[in-house]
Symmetry: C2
Subunit: 156 residues, 2 copies
Amino acid sequence: MDMNVLSTPGHLISLAARGFARLSEARLKPLGFGVGHLPVLVALQDGRASTQRDLARFARVEQPPMAQMLARMERDGLIRRTPDPADGRSSLITLTERAEARLPDAVAVLLQGNDDVLRDFTDEEAGLLVTLLTRLIANLDRVAGAEASPGPERSS
Amino acid sequence: MDMNVLSTPGHLISLAARGFARLSEARLKPLGFGVGHLPVLVALQDGRASTQRDLARFARVEQPPMAQMLARMERDGLIRRTPDPADGRSSLITLTERAEARLPDAVAVLLQGNDDVLRDFTDEEAGLLVTLLTRLIANLDRVAGAEASPGPERSS
DNA sequence: ATCGAATACATATGCACGTATATATTTGAG
DNA sequence: CTCAAATATATACGTGCATATGTATTCGAT
């Protein structure tokens, strides 16, 4: 009975993430958005980021994936880039009116999706899930950071 | 304060999944495996599947991604395909000795990763997380199934 | 003021996943 | 027995993510 590895939180989280992504993707498509767009859209609208670098950090993805996503979003008329007058290497990114207009619907769709999937969860259970996930993510960051560092120098 | 959408279980699960995948990928690479290989490896070793179709179902991915992964795994010497004598369309897939020999280490690495990330979780908390995730995945399946169906015919 | 280091971004490559579609074999209704 | 439907796999294409690497601009120490 080696169902062990496939019952770990790690694998279950992967399954849940793919399921969530598929559902959200399907529901966002009519609005012209993809799931991955949301952190970018939110960050831009809230003024929490306006350069590619900041958006990548905010969305917690590497720079090249963010560059590609921004290229697609620009192509699809969701964002605009204007050269940064203060830094020739950088562009300032803004939402188009279309994107801004439809963002509230996208947010609503995602919140509804969460409700649908957590329908039989009590408020306590939902809150607990969020708490546990948040702690788990913090631990992941910690472990990843330690992994990247030179190492604990365990030898004498 | 629109940190709403990005604090939902859906988004947190996505973050957790990417973090877990990155960690596991890094640790499995020295063994010659990728995270996505595990369901395939486990299913093959346990005799729970031996055709591409069954492996796709077991791993809960679509057929084309599974076909591609099997092609890479064959290329990398993890699996072998032999024509199914009983069905000319199908191939029977088996683990190579190399893959079978290293699978226990891979499983150990993943279990260790889960331990590392859940280090400060009590057994109750870890169990609760698994329970909540399992329920959430079941709900996702339900919602996705309903989505695919003709629809509840809510109009008169 | 200049030149090397740091920084912002772009590009190339690979894996994993999805949808849409093609091809080949098997199956079953007649 | 034959041919259409079902089935198993393959292929093409788009997205998201990663690493590795190149290019251009800015910064900072001399």
